[in-house]
Every structure is written in structure tokens, then in C-alpha cells.
Amino acid sequence: MKKQAIGPAVSAILLILIAYFASDYLNMLDPRNGIWSSVLPAAHTGEKTIRLRGLEDEVIVAWDKWGVPHIYAKSERDLAFAFGYVQAMDRLWQMDLERRLAAGRLSELLGQPAFETDLFFRTMGLRIGAVRTWGALEAGAFPELKAALEAFAAGVNAAIKDMERSGTLPVEYKLLGVEPEPWEPIDTLLVDRLICWGLTGSLDSLYLYQLLRGLQGAFGDEVGYRAVKSILPPDRPLEVDEYIIPPSSSPGPAAKEHGAPQQPCVISAREMGLGSPKSLFNVLKWWEDANSYCSFVRSLFASNNWVVSGALTASGKPILCNDPHLALTVPPTWYEAHLVVLGEGGTPLMNVRGVAFPGVPVIVIGRNDRVAWGFTNVGADVIDFYYYVWDEGGERYWYGPEGRWLTVKHDEEIIWVREGKKLVPKTVVLNFTIHGPLVERWGVRFAVKWLGHYATLEAEALRRYNWARGLEDFMEALALFQLPAQNHVYADVEGNIAWWACGRYPNRTNLDRSDPLKIWLPYNGSAGEGEWNEEDWIDPPDEVPHLINPPWGYIVTANNRPASTADYPLVYEIGWTWADYYRARRIRELIEGYLASEWARLRAEIMMAIQMDVLSIPARELVPYLLSALKIHEDELMALEKEAQEELVGWDYHMRAGWAAPTIFAAWLKAFVDAVFKDEFSKAGLEDVRIPLSMLEYFVKHPEAGAWWFDDKGTPNVVEDRDTIMVKAFKQAVEELRKLVGTERTHPPPSKWKWARVHRLKADHVMGSVLPWLNYPRLPLDGWGDCVNNLGGLNVGSGPSWRQIVDFGDKSYCVIPGGQSGNPFSPHYADQLELWVRGQYKAMDMPATPDEVEREGLWRLVPAGGRP
């Protein structure tokens, strides 16, 4: 009998072992419910009728050949419902990830690795602003927006139910073995808050403090202060800067402070009770690591937009262009859609096309039949840091304005962390001062006050842009766009063009403005320094820098400085970390060049060429100096270095994938920056060199201004000059490239060091490190940082996340880096990627009826009766 029992026992044991240990794989590979079933909803081909509870009337969704939904509804509410439904069908995982990230609930999906990120976002209090904004809507503000958010949520939830029923939830859920929660209206506001954080949650004040403190510690207060002012002058010299409003007069008084000012030291970072630069490193690293999770919304200080008046275009109508430079991710940052609300007789009441962040029910950047708009990040300074005088117990801080000790408030929260199939609770304590969340780790203690902690109304502003019929409507809506401050360029069918550095900016009180650095550094919270005057903001549209129909006929913004202090005296209040001038100037050069050429009139094709332009102004400005230095030091060059030098001679400064010169230039520039600054930064205990490249360019052109930096502090008996350092960096760059491009056996000559070998796309899925098949292919790319086609770094993880060209008198065009669908099996997962790489576009049509859509599928969404 015992013998007979062996068979069943062995079979049963093996079966149990497999079911236990391989259950995750079996769930994933299950033919009916695993990832395979995700092929069914991958393409939206054919025609089908979908019955949905909660719809009030029929909605038609026509899918075009790029997987872009053209949604035709009879009410705004149904439109939002349908938009939620189709977004979730294509991007549910991404939406879920974003809301969880903002709420500090990512560990529930990704486990312990996401815990610190959750703790960070909870500490920063992103949820606070979302809750306050939702509270304002519940109190009766903007009922149309509230209705749209609720309808959108209902649409998302209808999609979740349908996918659960049919076993077609996104593959990521199947891979992780988790399920989505219902979408709440506040989740959209959380996504909004995350975007705001990505674009304004800046560390720059802390870096500035760290830099000042470090350099003062190493070189003394006065030298350190001058050094900081020389690389971060309040006004960069105009030859290396470009304002959105061309300076109408000589630069303001502060502009004379560039270089190393000969004034006594007025700021000592050591007096600030913020902790040592070293202790700040951990906090800054924590901050950066957490932000890396929200990379898909993090602006890397780059985006371009410009608008040209009809007087300068072939069509006689304005052309508006925009390419926001965000992280290149899988799926892409944006979801494209065409949304139509039909009125009586089928005439469109609203007809808008563009892109939305997944989770947002309105078009964020785009156009309707009357107006178009585009954004670049202003780089607004709407986040402040406060340090305090603490009592001995460390629980109370002195608050001067009230003349008393205040006690830190504590909130206990639970972060649920996935461990296998279980969720394990971890209790965390969040602390707050009168200013906001208190960051209290690694011996550093400071409070954070961010505009995003307030109720802000940009969602309503965007909703109104979708409906705007002209300049007046648009300007009314602008008043509600508070966060994140964006350079809005605007054009309309009437021929108007305009720009606003639109956003709400704090009107800080009790602040010594004798030196702009004092506005930008952390504040003494105990002294009531830098309090926000919450009764009196700097508000759009009239109080922010702007231009309406400028006589010269075009406006260019590329995260550059809005205006001089003469043209806009509050410029230091709204921001200070403006991007280098390169992209803005190059766009202006190209526009002026085309206007002066045989083309004479601008058209969409020219705008495409401008968006794809890869001339590097840093190369154009610096390489002649490098070549000259190499010539002077010719005797010191080895054969390989001479060959590399030859590649740069005659180069036209375009960063093209097939050329070797860009590789050599990029490697040299990195080595040069390090060679100039690293010695001082290292002495100051700073790890990274972060300086505006334009100031390095200024030093190269005016070596006397940069003499202190050019001198290598590691060689006390020698004073190095610009040329010596340039050549030293060149030698180092050639050596590094020889190792990077070559192997142990092969040593290709510099002519083979093609840019394409090292400069490649790195657009990854959040799970792409484990499952690389989810990532986009590593395609070679033209371009680089500071080119108009801004594709910085070697593994290119950021760049134009959407290219849009709207011509009100002719065809409009657009493209996204990837595809519409988040489903890896969809034909629209990456079908626009090749277009995007090659600088090609697809039509940005806005057909008034579904029949006019060149479609591959059609959904008829019909009410199933009753509300859910």
C-alpha cells in the first residue's frame, strides 16, 4: 500500500511546489488572465458599442491611425467621462503610478525600494494642496470643473471595471500581481500637484546655500562670496544672455555686478542655521532620488515655444510652436486627444486638440479652432526654506513676528509597504512649523513653504483655455493659472500673438533686497524673514511679465530670463535660475535668418527645421578658443590628440549623430568644466559642479574675469591660465574617449568616434530595469543639451516630450516621442518614435465630425441606464 501512495504523494508535492513557487509566473503567463489577454485591447480597430453606466448620452470615439482618440460628446460632462474611459484604457498604470507617487503610496505597489520616496513626498505635503483645492471645489468654486473631475473619475472607473471583467488590465498589474483602486476626483488634483512639484519643487536655494557656505568655508567669507557672485551674478552680462522681452534700454543697475564684484562681503552663509554643507548632501540626495521617480514630469530646465505674427508667415496667420522638454519615458509623458463638444445640429461648441497629462481631463497644451497655446517652464521661485533658533529640547522654535516660542506640530501617518503579497504598515511622523513641513533628517532642520501647499486653480484655467474663443477669454482664464508658472505663448485666428510668464508669485515681506542673493537664499524663520504676504500676490495676467502683439512680430521663450530689471523691476522676485541663453538666441537667429533669406515668409516646414535644429552655440563660441589654444600648445600634443583636433577643424558645430566632432566636443566640454571648477568645488566639499555654461563662456572670452577659477588650486606654485586648462581638458577628454569608444583590442581612430555611438535614446519604463522589453529601443540621436533640439547627456533621458506646430492659416503638425498606448503589445506603443527621431510629424487635424476622421476604429459609448 505504501508503494501505491508514492505516485500521488510525489505528484501532489510537485504540484504544490509549482503552485507555490511559480504562482507569480503562472499568473503572469496565464493564457486567459495573464499578460497574453492584454493583446485584445491593444489595438482599437473595428467598430464596437460599449454600454456604460453613468453616461448621459451617446459619445463617439473615433481612433485614428496613430491611436489618437477623437471624442465627440454632446456635453462637457460626457466628454470628461469618455476621456477618462479612453485614457484609462490606454494609460491606467501610468495614471495610477502618478497619483500614488504624489500621495506617498508607491510602496504599496513597488515595496521597500519606494519607501524613502513615499516618505519624501509625504514630508513635502503634496497632498495638502490637492486636499485644499478639492475643498475649494466642494465649497462651490467652479462647479463645472468639479463636475468634469467627477465625470472623468467615473469614466476611469468604468474602464477599470471593464478591464477587470475581461481580464485585460494593463500588463504591469499582472506582472506585479496587484489590482488598481478606483479613481477619485482628488486623484486628478494629486497628479496636478505632482506636475507642479516637478516644475517648481526646486532645490536651488539649498544648492546656493551649500555653494556659498562651502566656498566661504574653504576660501574665506569675502572670496567665497565673490566667487559665488561671479558664477551666479544676478544679471549675466548681456553678451551671454537673452531676455524674452528684449532690453529696451541699457541693462538695469544690478547688471553691472557681474564678474567678481569689488564690494565688501555682505552675506555670510555661516550665520545661517541650516547645517553644514556635508549634512545637507544627504537631504539633497534624498530629494533627488525621490524626484527621480517623478522624472516624467520633471522639467530639466528646458522647453521651447515661440509664436510668430501673421505678418511674417506665408499663410498670413500666426504660427505657434512648442516643444516642452521633459523626461523621455515609457509610456510618454503626454496623452494626445481631440475633444469635441457638439451643440444643437452637430455644430462643435468646443473643438480642441493637444496633449494632457494622463489623469487630467482637459487638454494642457494645444489648440482649439480659435486659439492655440504652449508652455515653457518659467523656473519660478515659489518654494522657500526657513531655518530657526531652537530651544534646548529641540521641540520649540522662536518665532519673532509673534514674539514667542512655537511648538512643532506632529502628524502620524502609516505608509503601507508591499512585502510579497502582504502590505506591512510602517508608521512615520511628519512635522510642521508655522511655515510648512519640517525637514528633519541627518542633523539638518529646515521648513519648506511651497505655493503648492495652497489651493490653486490651474485646472480651471486649463479648462477655460480649451473653451476660449479669443484673447479676452484667454486672459480671463490666465488669472486662474497660478502654478506651476509657465511661459504661455498664445496665438489666435484673429491674428493676435502674446506671451505671459504666467503664474502666481509670492510677494515676500521683511526681506533685505540690497543683494538679490538674499532673496534666493534660505530665510531666518525665527526673524520672520521672507514671510509671504498672502493678501497680496504677484498675479497674472497684468502683474507678470508679458508681451501682446509686439511690433517686431514674434516672441521666443526657452526658459530664459523674462526681462531686465528696467523692464520688469520684480524680476528677482519671480525667479533666478533662468536657463542659458543658447536655445532662445538660436531660435531667434533662425527666425531672423529665414526672414532675411529667400524664404522671407515663415511656414510650418521652417518651424519643423527650427525645432530639429542641432547647432550648438556653446560649440560655436568655445571651439575657436580651444583650437587656438591647441595650436599654441601644438608641441605637447600626441598623435591621437592631433587626430582628434583635426576632427574639430572645419566642423560646423552641428551635433549630428554621424559625425565625430560632437563626441570630441562634448567630452572636452565636460572635462573643461571639471578642470576649471572642480578644484575649488572639491576644496569646498561640493561634489557636483553646477554652473551656468554661459558664465564659463564669458570667462573664456574674458579670461581676466575667470582668472581665479582658471587657476588650479591643487598646484599652489603655478598659476594656470585659460589656454593651459583648455589643453589639459582636451588631453583628458581624448584619453577618456579612447577608453569609452575603444576596447582592449580595438582602438578606432577619432574619425570613428561617431556621436551615434555614445549619444542614444534612453527612454525607459519604470519596470524596464527588470523587464527591458518594456523600454524603447536605444536609437542614436542628433542634438544635445543647449541645442534647440535639446537632447542632453549621453544616455538621453530627456528632451522634446511633444512637438507642436499650429498654423492658423494652414496645416498644423505634432508628434510625441513614442506612442499613445501604454500597452506594450499595441501597435501604438512606439509607432511615433521613428517620426520623432527623424524630425517628422503627423497632421494635427481637428475634424468636426467622426466621419471625417481617417480612422482605424470606432467606439460607440452608449448609456447603460442609471448612474453608477
Partner: protein, 123 residues
């Protein structure tokens, strides 16, 4: 129960294919039940094992045929992206079918022997 422990491969294999395909509607754990049933119906262990080992992958394969017909482009893209996944899925089907059908057969045999022994004791 007619057919218990009596079916040959010609009948058992098609039955197994249908059973595994239907059971898969409820997900892979239910296919274990289908395998047990195949084992119960088999006349010997080898027939159970072969029917389970072939029936499950073939039954699951019907889903792939359906996907190929219903979403051709997406299915081919999936195959191109993760070619090993199809083989892995079928391998898992084979193992589950083999073990569950074997278990079904062995359990049936054991119960039959226990019943027979009990009957002999009773006599």
C-alpha cells in the same frame, strides 16, 4: 460513473484538450481540477500523463489561436517582444497538465485499491 478509469488516448486526449481549455476560463488554478479529472478518466497512468501533458498546452494553445485571429497585430508584436514567453507558457501548461492528470490517476487508483481492500475485508 461510466468512463472512470476506462478511457483510452483517442478519446481521452480530445476530452483533455476541451477540459483544459474550458477550465482556463477560470484561470490556471482551475486547470489543475481539469487535470485531476483527466487522470480520473484515464485507464492507465501513461494515458493520463500523455493526455495531461499534451491536453493542457493544446487547450491553452487554443487561446493563442484565438488571439492570433482576434488581435493579429498585437499578438505578433507580443511574440516578437517576448518570444520565450510563449514557450514558457506552454511548458507550464505541460507540467501542470502532466502532474495534475497523474495525481488524478494515482488518487483514483489509490481509492480503488483502498475500496477493494475494504470490500475484501468485509467479505
Amino acid at each position: 460513473m461510466k468512463g472512470v478509469g476506462s478511457l483510452g488516448l483517442k478519446v481521452l486526449l480530445p476530452e483533455a484538450v476541451v477540459l483544459f481549455a474550458l477550465a482556463e476560463l477560470g484561470g490556471w488554478p482551475i486547470t489543475i481540477a481539469a487535470g485531476l479529472l483527466v487522470g480520473v478518466l484515464a485507464s492507465d497512468w501513461r494515458k493520463a500523463a500523455v493526455s495531461g501533458a499534451l491536453g493542457a498546452p493544446i487547450g491553452w494553445g487554443l487561446y493563442f489561436i484565438a488571439y492570433r485571429m482576434l488581435a493579429s497585430v498585437a499578438f505578433l508584436k507580443a511574440l516578437a517582444l517576448v518570444p520565450s514567453f510563449l514557450a514558457l507558457t506552454l511548458l507550464f501548461g505541460l507540467i501542470l497538465g502532466l502532474l495534475s492528470a497523474s495525481l488524478g490517476y494515482f488518487l483514483t487508483s489509490l481509492i480503488n485499491q483502498l475500496t477493494a481492500r475494504y470490500a475484501r475485508k468485509e467479505k
